[in-house]
């Protein structure tokens, strides 16, 4: 297994980053629907009370209020759990943010199965699909806390709607401090020519571990961190198809509508090659610790490695 120096929750990047950016003079405001304690947004509220607006447990209103604030020229952040925003306020995001392109940044935490013990209702496996269905939204899924802070800063400094998906559980820090997040550019965390593993969020570390497993079988796997889902790094996908001829996608999310669909779409249009999809499909989650749940649903290095071998075998098709 790749040794991670640090474990940190990506959700913890929100409050401190907003404080830093406000201190640098950005006109940031923050709307909160009773989850700011969990998303770390309240830290911003403590520093800048006049810029922090609690609205109670009311996600629809949260988005509308944020859009109204943004329409006056402010950079309006809001946060919730990924299962409630977009899920509980989809139409508000569509009408008040996506269509008019208001400057709203939704940072949703507690995404994916790794949310853990609360179980199926709390495990968002569809938020990426919902957000990608709004074509004007930038959609970013940071792999670790380093990237999360940079993505939040990029969102604040770039005009227009942003969705940033963070995690509750501590996850491995896979980038060092020299890493620079770029919109529309995927980082290549490992070179390889036999197959490409494309992963997001907590599955990036899983993919890196899978690549280690594969290398002991003499297989060289390229590993891409697909943090920027919109704008998409089409070139990285085409290069993966051209240069490695087989692809595995890995996501803590439903395959349909998520990373898997994105990659499949580009590959079908540009260079058809076999793809194996690791992710959730026909069912919802279950309770358990992050580790238990990922193992339960086979989102493991072993499963990714197995899929890679299958994809490689299928090259001759």
């Amino acid at each position: 297994m790749v040794q991670a120096t640090k474990m940190e929750a990506t959700r913890a990047a929100l409050g401190p980053t907003l404080i830093k950016l406000r201190n640098e003079g950005l006109d940031i405001v923050c709307v909160d629907a009773d989850l700011g304690y969990s998303t770390s947004a309240v830290k911003f509220g403590r520093e800048f009370p006049e810029r922090f607006f609690p609205v109670g447990v009311a996600e629809q209103n949260m988005i509308g209020v944020a859009a109204g604030l943004a329409a006056t020229g402010k950079i309006a952040f809001c946060s919730s759990f990924a299962v409630f925003a977009p899920g509980h306020c989809f139409d508000q995001l569509r009408m008040a943010v996506a269509q008019p392109k208001t400057n709203v940044k939704l940072v949703a935490s507690h995404a994916g199965l790794v949310t853990g013990e609360d179980g199926a209702s709390a495990q968002s496996l569809e938020d990426i699909g919902l957000m990608l269905s709004m074509p004007t939204f930038n959609v970013i899924v940071p792999a670790d806390s380093v990237e999360a802070a940079q993505a939040i800063e990029a969102a604040a400094r770039t005009d227009g709607p942003f969705y940033i998906r963070t995690m509750r559980a501590k996850t491995a820090v896979v980038h060092d401090e020299s890493y620079r997040f770029q919109l529309g550019k995927w980082s290549r965390l490992r070179e390889g020519s036999d197959v490409t593993l494309i992963a997001i969020a907590d599955m990036v570390k899983v993919a890196l571990d899978a690549a280690e497993l594969l290398s002991s079988d003499g297989i060289n796997a390229r590993v891409l961190n697909a943090a920027s889902l919109r704008p998409l790094d089409r070139e990285a996908i085409v290069a993966a198809a051209d240069e490695t001829g087989a692809i595995v996608t890995a996501e803590d999310h439903f395959v349909h509508g998520g990373l898997g669909s994105l990659v499949a779409g580009v590959v079908a249009e540009e260079h058809p090659v076999p793809i194996e999809f690791v992710g959730m499909r026909d069912r919802y989650g279950t309770s358990g610790t992050s580790e238990q749940v990922l193992a339960f649903f086979n989102l493991t290095p072993e499963a990714v490695a197995e899929s890679a071998k299958k994809a490689i075998d299928r090259k001759s098709e």
Partner: protein, 300 residues
């Protein structure tokens, strides 16, 4: 630019023009929403020609009052008055609802300039208005935010989320205006249009022989609802009386410590006899003969 003190006679003649614009647009597009445009026409005329601090030549003026159209389908009314106020060339009326036209079917933020929010989905306007109001307080600006709501808007839960939050934040720079015409898409909101004998035993609404629904969702006691959510309530018994509307909106602007709602009792389809109180013209254009009659009734 501060709103002018337009006389009632002038307002009346502007409102007639606006109503003709409404007919012109829905006929040109052969679609659109005349009923709720006509019911709101006098409110809109009062806002644009008496109450709003705005400048049609400088629609992005940061100190302008905001008017948020939550009932975003009422575009013929909104464009009809904005055109009269000089926001765009009235020739655009004839391109209403065509591909990429300036005047889209439902309101679109900034298209034409001066439209503050995109709409078409009910229930969203008050949240957006609250955001603008909170920004105004934060920025130390004294603009006021008005939000035009319909019956249907008041049935969406989001409106009550926003109402609760506006009360909680003591957003006294927001005024909600309810265009209370008691008619919506499927038919009649409540018993307003029915003699007592017509009320059947079944509570909660029923479908009539003409396929319209009666008693879809009664909002009464509407004043009590807003009060319980922390709002100052002003009830305007005739939502087509310019002086009454003006007085209520000025009082709303002046009220401090809590937001104000102005509930205007209106007539859906107001000004065109066969559209009045008629759910059929919620979202339908008149035919040729009806159009001629409408223009006759709306002549100066």
């Amino acid at each position: 630019m501060v709103a002018t003190q337009t006389s009632v006679d002038e307002l009346k003649s502007i409102a007639k023009r606006v109503r003709r614009n409404i007919i012109r647009m829905v006929v040109a597009a052969n679609s659109g929403h005349p009923g709720g445009s006509l019911s709101a026409a006098d409110i809109l005329v009062t806002l644009y020609f008496r109450v709003l601090r705005h400048d049609p030549k400088n629609p992005d003026w940061p100190d302008r009052d905001r008017l948020i159209i939550s009932k975003g389908h009422a575009t013929p009314g909104v464009y009809g008055v904005m055109g009269e106020a000089g926001y765009f060339s009235t020739e655009e009326f004839d391109n209403f609802r065509t591909p990429n036209a300036l005047l889209q079917g439902h309101v679109v933020m900034g298209k034409p300039a001066g439209v503050e929010m995109s709409g078409g989905a009910l229930g969203m306007g008050l949240s957006f208005s609250l955001g603008q109001a909170l920004a105004g307080k934060l920025d130390g600006k004294d603009y006021h935010v008005f939000c035009l709501l319909s019956d249907g808007d008041c049935q969406e839960g989001q409106t009550w989320e926003a109402a609760m939050a506006a009360g909680h934040h003591k957003a006294d720079n927001v005024t909600a205006i309810v265009d209370r015409n008691h008619i919506q898409n499927d038919g009649y909101s409540d018993y307003e249009h029915f003699p007592d004998g017509d009320q059947p035993a079944k509570p909660g609404g029923w479908v009539m022989a003409d396929n319209h629904t009666a008693n879809i969702m009664n909002l009464e006691p509407l004043s009590a609802k807003w009060e319980a959510f922390g709002w100052n309530v002003i009830h305007v018994r005739d939502g087509h009386d310019f002086e009454a509307i003006t007085a209520a909106l000025e009082e709303a602007r002046a009220h401090t410590g809590q937001p104000t709602v102005v509930i205007c009792e209106t007539t859906k389809g107001k000004g065109v006899s066969f559209m009045e109180h008629n759910p059929d013209f919620h979202g339908k254009a008149p035919d040729k003969e009806q159009t001629e009659q409408a223009y006759r009734e709306l002549a100066d």
